[in-house]
Subunit: 427 residues, 2 copies
Amino acid sequence: METVKLGMLGLGTVGSGVLEMIENNENKIRNIIGRELSVKTVVVRHPEKHQNAATITKLTTEFEEVLNDEEIQIVVELIGGIHPAKEYIEQLLRAHKNVVTANKDLIASYGPELAALAYENHCDLMYEASVAGGIPILRTIVNSFAADNILEVKGIVNGTTNYILTQMNQKHWAYEEALKKAQELGFAEADPTNDVTGKDAAYKMIILSYFAFGAQLKIDDFKTEGIDTLNAYDVSQAESLGYVIKLVGSAKVINGGVFVDVAPTLVPEDHPLATINNEFNAVMVTGKAVGDTLFYGPGAGGLPTANSVLSDITSEVKNLIMGTSGHAFNTYQSEYVPADPDNVRYPYYLSLTMPDVSGQMLKFTRIMADIKASFSQIVQAPIKDEGIAHVAVITHELSQSQLAELKKQLQQADSIKLNAAYKVLEN
Amino acid sequence: METVKLGMLGLGTVGSGVLEMIENNENKIRNIIGRELSVKTVVVRHPEKHQNAATITKLTTEFEEVLNDEEIQIVVELIGGIHPAKEYIEQLLRAHKNVVTANKDLIASYGPELAALAYENHCDLMYEASVAGGIPILRTIVNSFAADNILEVKGIVNGTTNYILTQMNQKHWAYEEALKKAQELGFAEADPTNDVTGKDAAYKMIILSYFAFGAQLKIDDFKTEGIDTLNAYDVSQAESLGYVIKLVGSAKVINGGVFVDVAPTLVPEDHPLATINNEFNAVMVTGKAVGDTLFYGPGAGGLPTANSVLSDITSEVKNLIMGTSGHAFNTYQSEYVPADPDNVRYPYYLSLTMPDVSGQMLKFTRIMADIKASFSQIVQAPIKDEGIAHVAVITHELSQSQLAELKKQLQQADSIKLNAAYKVLEN
C-alpha cells in the first residue's frame, strides 16, 4: 500500500494528538482512504523536549527540511499566531505543497489571500480545525448547505469563556474567581486576553461568515465585547428573569445586509444554546429551507482538534488520489454588505444603577419613551448599596440606532449609569 | 455556463422541495458549483395532479423517458418503498446514471448490494436524506470521522415518535391520544405502524451502523421495540425519577462487538437528548479522540429533506466536473461481530405490578438477588387499583443475559407482572 508522507510544523497538544491518532487508527485510515499516513518530519524549536515523538518521526529545527523535501505532499501547520506561520505557509504553497492548518488568527486575517495563493499553485489549503475544535462545522457548511440560503449562523465558539460563564452561572462566582479556577484547571491560559475579550470568538465568526455568506469581514467591521467586564449581579439577575448569559457570536442576514457581533447575550433557559456548558462549543446554522440545525462538540483540546486536522488530511489524500487538488475549501464568494443599523432589532437587557431618590425612574422612563422604546420586564433589585438602586430591564426590540441614542441620552443624564446592555435571544 | 440535467422519480413534498430550492437558490448554486441545475424530466403516476410543476419541468408517466435520456446525468429517486424503486435504481445504475435517493427502507435493506452495482458501473449512489431528514449526518461521519475510532452512535431518529413522546411527556397524554393528535397535525401518517413500532428508526440505525462501524446489519440482527405499548404511567413514573422517555436508537462497540437496539429509553433530564422535542431529530456520535458530538435538526419535512438531497446532488456535480464518480459514499467496511450479551450492561427501569399482599416484594427481591442484580432506586406508587400494587425500579447495571434470566424468572413467578423493562442512559 502506498504511503502519503506528511510534514508538520509545531508539536504541542494538537500535534501530539495528530501523531497519536495516525498511530492508533492506522487500520481504519487504511480501510477508508486506501493509503498509509506517515508523519516524516516535524519542525520544532527544541527537539530535545520531544523524545517520545522522536521514535516514530524525524525532528528538526530547520523549516527547509520540510519545504525542500519532495516526498512530503501535505504539511500541517500547528505553530499558531500570524508570524512566521504566514510566511511558512506562503513558501509551502509556492512549493506546491498542500497545507492543513488550525490557525484561526491567520485564517481570519489572511484566509482569502492565502486561498488565492493556493489556487494559483494548484494546491489546497484546509483549516477545519480553526473553528470550534472538534465540531466539523466548516466542511458541513460547504458540503451540506451549498444549495440552501443560510440566514444565520450563531453559537458558542470559545471554550474558555464558556467554561468561565458556566462556573459564574452555576456557582454564582465573580468573574475573577471563575477565571482563576479556569486557569488552575488549564481551561484558560496564563494570559487569557484573546479569549476573555471576545477576540478569539470574533476570529471564528469571521471564518464562519465567510463560509455561510461568502462575505469577507475584518475584525474591525463589527463590535466585539468580551466577558471581562461581566458582573455577577447581571448573571444572577438574568437567571431570575429566566435567562443564561453566554458569549454568543452571531452573523445574521438582515434585509440583504449582514450583521455580525460577539457579545455576552441573554439566552432563554430552554434555548438549545443555554444547555451548552463548560468547555463545549455549539454552532447553530439556520437555513431558509432546512430551518434550525445545531452542531455540538468539544471546542478545543488536543485530540478533538487533531480529529479536525485529520479530516482535512484524509480529504486531501482523496484529492491527491483523484488528482483534484487546487479547489478552494470554500468557493462561495459574495460582497459583504453591512446591515442597516435601523433594521438590526433585538430585545436588550439593560443593567442600570441610579441614586435611590424619587424621580430617577421617571427620568429613565422618559428617556425610554423619547427613543420610542418599551419594556418587556422590569425589576428593581431589593439589594441597595449606599443609596444606590439597581434596576434591570428587558426591553422590547430596539434597533441599533435606538440603542446608540439610548446610550447617548443616559450618558447625558449623568445620575443614571448604564452598566451593561446585552442582546436577548428569542426562542 | 453549463447546465447539469437531472431526472426525478416521484414528486411528493420532498420532490417539490427540491424543485423549489433549485429555483430559489439558483445564484448561490451557480456561485458554488459553477453549473446550473435543471430538472429536465419527472416521472409521476398522475401528471394531471402536478400542474404547477409542469411549468418548469417535463412530467411523464414513463420511467424510460428518464432511463434512456442521454442528457440526464443524475436521477433523484423519491418514490420510496422497496419495489419498484430497487429495480428502477438498478436499471439506472446499469445505464451509468448517478443516483440520489432518500429511500431508507431500500438502503437499509439493499444498500451495500446497490453500492456494489454503482461501483461496477463507475457511477455514484448517494443517500444523505435517508437518515434524519435535515441533519447532514452521513457525509459528516464519512468526512469528519475517517481517522477517529467511533465508539457509539445513538440518537432520536424518528420524528413522528418523538412528537408523540413529547406530547405524552409534556401533557401527560396517553399514547392513543397523542397519536391521534399527531395524525391530525400531519406529524403521523394514517397508518403509523412503521414509525410507532420502531421499524423506521431501526432502518436508520442499520445505515448509521454501516457508516460508523462499517458493519452490515439486517433488521433481524437486533431488537426493535416501539412506543406503541408505552404506558402513560411509566412516562410519569420516569419523570418523577428524573428521566424523560425517548425512543433511542443506539449502536455501540462493546468489547470488540457491536450492540444495536431501538427501544424506549430513560434519558436523564439534563442529557442533551432529553431536550430534543417534537419532530426534531438528533444524532450523538462519540469518537475515541473527539469525544461526544451532537448533530441536531429537523428529522423530516419537505424542504429539510430536500436540502439533504441537494447536498448529494451538488456533491455529485463536483464529481462529474472532476471526473471522480464511481467511489462509494461509504468506503468503510468491517465484519459485523455482535457484542457478547454478557458484556452488554445497562441500568434498567422495570415497571411491575403485583398483588397488594404481603410477601410479593420479598419474592421479587429474591429473584433480583438470585440473578445478582441490585437496585439503584425503587418506588412503590401510592396509586393502587383493585388490590394491585405498582412498583417501579431502577436497577444498577444488568447484562443482557441477566435481563433475559430476570424476565424468565418473573414469568415463572406468575403473580408478578413485568410490564416494561427500559434501558436507562447515563450522563
